[in-house]
């Protein structure tokens, strides 16, 4: 393990950690696709909020390829996956009392989604 001396801290912080990955990976979904968020309850870190699990949304845009945070949180390194902005109707998430005009956009990875 390299010693982190005071004179190296500033450079280490500037370098930071990269999350966007320059990997040529075919997306599983394209904008307009209907998707269902997986009903998963992992013991580890996940970016899929409970209120969206099992709910149906639409791919709004493909952000590109990023480190899959769920795997990274488990110490599995930088696994590349597409991240999409997925639009969920407020009524799909919160029921008939929610506004018919409102939507929630959630950034989700390939492994959070299945075709609907």
């Amino acid at each position: 393990m390299p010693l982190l001396t005071a004179d190296r801290v500033a450079a280490a912080l500037r370098r930071g950690d990269g999350f966007r990955m320059d990997v040529d990976l075919p997306p599983r979904f394209t904008p307009g696709d209907r998707v269902r968020a997986r009903n998963i309850h992992p013991l580890g870190h996940t970016r899929l909020p409970r209120y969206a699990r099992g709910r149906t949304g639409v791919i709004d845009r493909d952000h590109g390829v990023f480190v899959f945070a769920d795997a990274s949180g488990a110490g599995l390194g930088k696994i590349p996956q597409h991240v999409y902005s997925v639009r969920f109707a407020a009524r799909e998430l919160w029921g008939p009392e929610a506004s018919a005009r409102d939507s929630i956009y959630i950034d989700l990875w390939d492994d959070h989604l299945d075709p609907a």
Binding site: M1, A69, A74
Partner: protein
């Protein structure tokens, strides 16, 4: 994990009440806890997501009753113990020594 951090849709927590001109830190210890997290993160022994996971593992009742930088301190203590920088006993001994001094 299905922890207290995943608050979306939970009722009864009251309104979000942003402070006007909110400072980045509300106390000197918060600044120090954040700096310690960045400095230890620079060792490269854990990813930012492992840092998030460490904070998520605070017991739910404690998580809801403590502040943002207390979560950061909890997570950092977990990570430095898991990665062999310190033992839990060393942390407890230091806390006890500081408590005696104050």
């Amino acid at each position: 994990m299905n922890g207290a951090h995943d608050l979306g849709g939970m009722h009864g927590l009251g309104p979000i009440d942003p402070e006007p001109d909110e400072p980045v830190f509300h106390a000197a210890w918060e600044r120090r806890v954040f700096a310690l997290n960045l400095a230890m993160g620079a060792w490269g022994q854990w990813s930012i997501d492992m840092g998030r996971y460490a904070r998520e593992q605070m017991p739910p009742a404690e998580y809801l009753a403590t502040s943002y930088y207390e979560h950061w301190l909890f997570g950092l203590e977990r990570l430095v113990v898991e990665h062999g920088f310190l033992t839990r006993e060393e942390i407890e001994a230091r806390v006890a020594a500081l408590r005696c001094r104050s």
